[in-house]
């Protein structure tokens, strides 16, 4: 009898499933594009693939990717830093948690478009992406870190008290391993949100030399093929960066375990 906890799907089998599902989705897309027959409404996957091969020749393509990437990642890293610091403070001092509660709640519930418009009034469009990415990721990191602190093992805290273990060792041996699953999950979710919100902000704010500007131009000229090609580029960069960053974090925690 098969154990209910054993995942019997092997890696090659999972890859085959993934390839089959991708092939199915692409076929469906191709059929839909052929039925509609108008690239302005829905270009075929082959057209998008062909465009992806030539889009690099568009003037300012790499600069736009670099511009958007650097700003979204800056906003994310800032949120990671401040979210971790404030999450730790809120876990330690209830007053900080009480004072930050309305901010965390409102950032979570207010539509991102409202923030984008307000930010357009407050900041230059060049800084918009950083601020919006930060704003969307901050509550995710903050709330996850807070949850991690709150679910700390009280018995281990008692042990630290008895042995009078200094704070820097508590951070290294107790708090970082404790926060590991919370931070990994928050970073994975936060990075996806940072890209979604960052690109949305750029499409509304249209900063010069950004991916958002490319999206805006594609919309303006009803160039659906470019629109989808740029979407593919964003998705690929977002997934690659998320995987690389999460692996880096895992390597950091793994190194910690070797201490």
């Amino acid at each position: 009898m098969r154990s209910p906890t054993t995942d019997s799907t092997s890696v090659p089998k999972r890859r085959l499933h993934l390839a089959l599902s991708a092939l199915f989705a692409l076929s469906l897309w191709q059929v839909a594009a052929m039925m509609i027959g108008q690239a302005i409404l829905l270009p075929s996957p082959l057209m998008v693939a062909a465009r992806l091969l030539t889009i690099w020749q568009v003037p300012g393509c790499f600069q736009a990717i670099l511009f958007t990437f650097s700003r979204i990642v800056s906003g994310f890293l800032l949120a990671l830093l401040l979210g971790t610091v404030f999450g730790c403070l809120a876990g330690r001092f209830p007053l900080v948690r009480i004072l930050l509660a309305p901010f965390a709640a409102s950032i979570k519930t207010v539509p991102v478009a409202s923030f984008i418009v307000i930010c357009l009034i407050w900041f230059s469009t060049q800084q918009l992406t950083i601020f919006i990415s930060f704003l969307i990721v901050f509550p995710v990191i903050y709330l996850n870190v807070l949850q991690g602190i709150k679910s700390a093992d009280l018995a281990l805290l008692e042990t630290c008290y008895v042995f009078a273990i200094p704070w820097h060792r508590r951070v290294l041996y107790l708090w970082l391993p404790q926060l590991r699953p919370f931070l990994l999950s928050a970073c994975s979710v936060g990075l996806g949100l940072a890209w979604k919100a960052g690109i949305a902000a750029e499409i509304i704010g249209i900063p010069a030399g950004s991916i958002g500007r490319m999206f805006y131009d594609a919309k303006l000229y009803l160039n659906t093929t470019d629109l989808i090609a740029w979407t593919v580029i964003v998705v690929v960069i977002s997934i690659l960066f998320e995987k690389a960053f999460v692996r880096l974090l895992q390597a950091f925690f793994h190194r910690l375990e070797k201490l």
């Binding site: 018995a155 281990l156 008692e158 042990t159 008290y161 008895v162 042995f163 009078a164 273990i165 060792r169 041996y173 107790l174 970082l176 391993p177 590991r180 925690f253 910690l256 375990e257 070797k258 201490l259």
Partner: protein, 193 residues
Amino acid sequence: MDVVLRSVQKRYGDQLVLSDLTANFPEGSITCIMGPSGCGKTTLLRLILGLEQADAGELLGIDVPKAAVFQEHRLFEAVSPVSNVAAVLPGRPDRSLLCEELSHLGLAHHLHVPTRTLSGGMKRRVALARAMLAPAALVVLDEPFTGLDLSSKEHAMSFVKRHAGEKTILLVTHDPTDPAFLDASTLWLTPNS
């Protein structure tokens, strides 16, 4: 400094756990605390460690550096056994010495793996090493040999004796042969001692 208990009383709600307990644990001595389950052995240790407050009475000589083995292992599971011991030592401890000490407890092949991968008996020995190697004047061991086979237990008891030095050691056990092996005196607790 001797650890002195004078008319110590502790209750949890309506349940009186320790009643008018008076005892003296001389500095540098080993005392085995014995008694049936529920008689207040662990409560007594928690009072001495400063983790609980007595309802009445006095506890003297407990404001010194302390170390403990708790009923649970209470180790930093993500890091190695060596790091668990190093965590309670001042400055930058000599890790090769720690490896040597842990090897005496049969952990030579598990020194640098995450502690969470160890068996219960191995974790118990790491907890014991941490308590005995810590720079403490008062060491409290709550059933430190639980889960150890006979050979491991003998090694562990020898380890305790070797590192006892001038430490005052209070050790909860259910094994009546332990006090003789450890050259320890015995405090018998009865319910509502």
